[in-house]
Symmetry: C2
Subunit: 224 residues, 2 copies
DNA sequence: GTCTATAAATAGATAGAC
DNA sequence: GTCTATCTATTTATAGAC
């Protein structure tokens, strides 16, 4: 598993921020140091639930994942899941939040001109899917896009906004937006077959091999 | 909607065959003409249920589709669905049966040598998805592949057996199987974004345009 | 903040009358 | 072959004790 930079999105709009360090535990917090802020222990449980939800949704999709299962995975009571996130729908929305690093990584890959941009995009995409801090949200999105309206909308949004924006300076000329769509199509297809359908030998192939063969396919569309 | 040849698979193993013409209705059957065969009226209801199931599964996926909903779509009682197909799982299996014409159409597209095979494959694939007699089964397969083991297996099988077989004489040399995987990846990605996620402007683009831009991308992998 | 208990809806599946 | 009625399990979600 390759590791990309450790930039993560703030998450849901109503998510509290940890005071300073990420590893803050209940017992390590100085007494009387939380005026108006969160009470110690709360955030940890809340995040544990969200992480568990992401993992479950990523692995089994929206419908197949029950609130009970998420609670079990987070090792908390079922009612706590509702207490923190209300409905299953809302929890799913939070789990869908795409890590901020995604547009950054893809934009970085699109830099550097037209030459070899196909291979760089494939490599960046694989890096995001092989990174354990970004994979669950991506997997949740793609896996549920077929049956959940919001996940599908998020997928479209990712394909257009993020990808088309990143490729804005690279894919130019006639039908530029359509061609960007087709590049996104190739990348989503790759995720689908390699990580979800687990098609062999593709799923077991190493990154370099995939980049070598698939990069030129993206490049063909970049060139128009 | 373009129409491909009208070859359809026999369906499930336990499916009865219609006597002669497809349009046979109860009243039009000669009396005493069904010794040991099916009783009139049965087949029609049975097929209506299967068609309705395919339509529902195609549109909403496995989990979201209830037996009651299928019964409603077929305009029959719920218990009839169980009567004919037993479990929901079994009905889903029947609905997944990929039309026989699929491998035929793809094999035909692969004929004619390496030149322009990318464009021919894209065009054949789009024809299958735009044909109302094949689309529901394909849609059912791809839409549920993310959450249903059997659908995923069918997708893998389609990608390897059917596609790799068709491309056997075209994709040769180093990593031929992996490259066939990547071609299937592109086609499934296309179906996913154009027909399921409905990404614009891709979904609204006409066939020729998609073929023109996407064909060379497949060709790049064929060439290696 | 965390738990027990349960409401309310819906699912798949079956029995049996006709 | 077709319908009514119902069983059983599971789901999301909430109320309320501590």
């Amino acid at each position: 598993m390759k590791s990309v930079d450790d930039v993560r999105e703030a998450g849901g709009a109503d998510r509290e921020r940890a005071g300073a360090a990420a590893g803050t535990v209940a017992g390590a917090v100085p007494a009387g140091k939380h005026a108006g802020g969160r009470r110690p222990g709360e955030t940890r449980t809340r995040e544990a639930i969200l992480d568990a939800a992401r993992a479950c949704f990523a692995e089994r999709g929206f419908d197949t994942t029950s609130m009970r299962r998420i609670a079990e995975a987070a090792e908390v009571d079922q009612s706590l899941v509702h207490h923190f996130y209300g409905t299953k729908e809302n929890l799913f929305l939070q789990a869908l939040e795409v890590p901020l690093k995604m547009p950054q990584v893809l934009a970085a890959a699109a830099e550097g001109g037209r030459d070899g941009v196909g291979e760089r995009m494939v490599r960046a995409h694989l890096a995001l899917w092989d990174d354990l801090s970004t994979r669950p949200a991506l997997m949740t999105m793609v896996r549920s896009a077929s049956v959940h309206r919001v996940a599908a909308a998020r997928l479209r949004e990712t394909a257009t906004t993020i990808l088309a924006d990143a490729l804005g300076n690279v894919v130019t000329g006639e039908d530029a937006v359509l061609r960007s769509n087709l590049i996104a199509t190739q990348l989503i297809g790759l995720a689908m077959m390699r990580y979800i359908a687990v098609l062999e030998p593709l799923a077991a192939a190493d990154t370099d091999t995939v980049v070598r063969y698939y990069g030129p396919a993206l490049q063909a569309i970049v060139e128009g």
